[in-house]
């Protein structure tokens, strides 16, 4: 009973704050509306008995959205939403597509004859997850992790305009890097 009530509250809030992401003017509020949506979904995940993943969603998404807020304020027009403005295109078509998708999915959800529940949740779902990730698929996961990490590093490198030649001189011989703001170690 309590769980059902919680499901409805969290679900409605998740949808509302998700919709607010595209309704609010202030970019700061937009970012934190998205964060709120993630936090409510994390609540739903916790309801489903996945404590580790629920908490990790809270952790990851808070960090991610705070960093996102920085970029939103840096790059976006009208970060504080003081100047009402619309930056949309193709609203009608998008609404039709998104609405259509939702109707189709919902119809599908209620028409499909879902199979019966197979098995019971393990006593420690977190351990089961760890064993799944680091058990038989360990090499796959490690390769995937490294590949994703390399992707992040590569894109970040591509987007900076200062490389080691700017920092250490053309012959890379400078003792200390020439940075606009020197760091604390001198590398």
């Amino acid at each position: 009973m309590v769980i059902t009530v919680l499901f409805w509250i969290l679900g409605v809030f998740a949808l509302v704050s998700g919709a607010l992401v595209f309704r609010l003017d202030s970019m700061a509020r937009v970012t934190f509306a998205l964060l709120a949506s993630f936090l409510f979904v994390a609540g739903e995940v916790l309801l489903l008995g996945l404590s580790y993943l629920g908490v990790v969603i809270v952790l990851m998404m808070t960090m991610e959205m705070v960093i996102m807020a920085v970029f939103m304020v840096m790059y976006m027009m009208n970060p504080a939403g003081l100047m009402p403005m619309a930056m949309l295109h193709n609203t009608r078509g998008a609404a039709a597509i998104a609405g259509g998708l939702f109707v189709a999915l919902t119809t599908g959800i209620f028409l499909v004859d879902w199979p019966q529940r197979a098995g019971r949740p393990p006593a420690e779902p977190t351990r089961a997850l760890g064993e799944a990730l680091m058990g038989p698929q360990m090499l796959t996961m490690m390769t995937l992790g490294l590949a994703l990490f390399a992707t992040i590093v590569a894109t970040v490198v591509l987007s900076t305009h200062r490389g080691r030649y700017e920092r250490f001189g053309d012959d890379l011989c400078a003792d200390r890097p020439d940075d606009p703001i020197p760091g604390g170690v001198g590398r």
């Binding site: 998700g18 992401v21 595209f22 949506s37 960093i67 790059y75 919902t106 894109t155 987007s159």
Partner: protein
């Protein structure tokens, strides 16, 4: 509380995210739409795990992959936006399209 309800919630988040991703002009807002769509995927994956196959960890693994994908997507997205912004001083998809030239 049933599988169908969770899936409808996931579908709702997915649809809102899709709407945002399609309408927003700004690259950063487009990323927000994508994140919201992935948010829906998380709900669906958790529901599938709980209601259909709790004995295996496949649903959980999917969520982990989705969270990682979000982090990577964000890092790449911001890097790309920074590069575009530096090069052309725009942050809008419409304007970025001109870059094709």
């Amino acid at each position: 509380m049933s599988l169908e309800l969770f899936l409808v919630l996931g579908a709702g988040l997915l649809a809102i995210g899709l709407f945002g991703a399609l309408t927003q002009q700004s690259v950063v807002m487009l990323m927000m739409g994508l994140e919201l769509m992935l948010n829906g995927v998380i709900v669906a994956a958790a529901a599938f795990w709980h209601f259909l196959a709790p004995a295996t960890a496949d649903g959980q693994v999917l969520i982990v992959v989705v969270i990682t994908a979000m982090a990577v997507e964000m890092a790449m997205g911001f890097a790309v936006v920074t590069a575009i912004f530096r090069a052309r001083d725009v942050d809008m998809t419409d304007m970025a399209a001109d870059l094709k030239e």
